[in-house]
Amino acid sequence: MSAYIARSSAVAARKLGSDMIIMSARDSSLFDLNDVGCVIWEAADGVTPLDEIVRNVVCAEFDVAPEEALQDARELVREMASFGIMVVSDQPIAPEAQ
């Protein structure tokens, strides 16, 4: 089953160079995403499935096998969700739920 991902509304984020710096407004903790994490973050609109993001965006921009990319993306998304900066669901995510 595909996962849907959305950026939490309780964060502030800024792209600086190829990095994405994110601050959780909940506890002011900071996160730094590399270039791959950055494209996943920007594509996390709540309605595009993660496997589609990996196939159409990550694999299009980076030289990586789709299966490996999807596995890495799932791990990254799981980690971001554990810190409360990403919302993950098996259904499309409405903006008010982000």
């Binding site: 502030a12 800024r14 190829s18 710096i21 601050m23 407004a25 909940r26 900071l30």
Partner: protein
């Protein structure tokens, strides 16, 4: 005792009309060109304020915020041991064991209940200024700063990085703005750094002056004096660790984050590695 230590010969105050049958006094503490009028009925507390903020008292300044201080006998004011800052009913509520304060940003007024000591109002001032600054893109940063040749330099780092050391090594032609809490506001296309009375281990308030911010140095101690460039993401990542913001409220915290990101894009940020001797200041020009 602060009352005993006070020298009453010259106190810059504004006598006010009686309030609640008690004589009130006020003075304006002008930090970062953000004057705050403090009103109290306690002459003893007035002396404490004057001693603590002497170089920053400017009763001719037009206040941007007014703070009424209710002095109560020494002892716990609230059950909160750690500092708590929250937004409730349109007001910022600040609590620590030794004070309770409520700040109304819409009315630009607040009140604080505390005993007659300088520490509680000093903490309240830091929080108030962080809230005032964030509205206009400014920041309080855990950093030393100084002015040299008309330009300000900021030295950021966590505890132990060397803020006090580099401040104590400053040559005579450098004016110390602070060894602990730096005050940065947008000015024109860049930023300006202001002196603050918020002292660290030097136990000496900064000078009440300001200058354009020329560079930010992230401190590290090492075997030689050297300056290394930092990428913008690395600069943002490190500087954000030193930005002071006390409220866990998404809106102002997000604005502080944005302000820090803007700052590192507009002001050069370098790593300054130094050995603890005065030659490091040869690099700061």
């Amino acid at each position: 005792m602060y009352a005993d230590a006070a020298t009453p010969e010259k106190v810059d105050v504004r006598p006010l009309a009686p309030r609640d049958a008690a004589q009130s006094y006020a003075l304006v503490v002008d930090i970062g060109a953000m004057p705050v009028l403090v009103r109290t009925t306690s002459p003893e507390f007035l002396q404490i304020l004057h001693l603590r903020y002497g170089g920053f008292v400017n009763s001719a300044a037009q206040p941007v915020f007014e703070l009424d201080v209710e002095i109560v006998p020494p002892g716990p004011i609230t059950d909160e041991e750690d500092l708590s800052v929250r937004f409730e009913g349109g007001r910022w509520v600040l609590e620590r064991g030794d004070f309770h304060a409520e700040l109304d940003p819409a009315l630009q007024r607040g009140r604080i209940r505390q005993s007659a000591n300088p520490y509680a109002i000093d903490a309240a001032f830091r929080i108030l200024h962080s809230l005032l600054l964030v509205k206009e893109g400014g920041l309080l940063i855990h950093a030393a700063s100084a002015v040299r040749n008309g330009r300000a330099f900021l030295f950021a780092g966590l505890s132990g990085a060397g803020k006090t050391t580099i401040s104590s090594l400053a040559p005579s032609d450098a004016t110390l703005l602070t060894d602990e809490i730096s005050y940065v506001r947008p000015r024109g296309a860049g930023y300006a750094a202001f002196g603050t009375p918020f002292a660290g281990e030097l136990a000496r308030p900064g000078e009440n002056v300001s200058a354009p911010l020329a560079a930010i140095y992230l401190l590290a101690q090492g075997p030689e004096n050297r300056i290394d460039p930092l990428s913008v993401p690395d600069a943002a990542w490190e500087l954000l660790q030193s930005v002071l913001f006390f409220a866990n409220d998404p809106a102002p915290a997000g604005r502080a984050f944005e302000s820090a990101c803007d700052l590192v894009r507009r002001v050069p940020v370098h790593r300054l590695t130094f050995v603890p001797d005065q030659r490091v200041w040869d690099l700061v020009v």
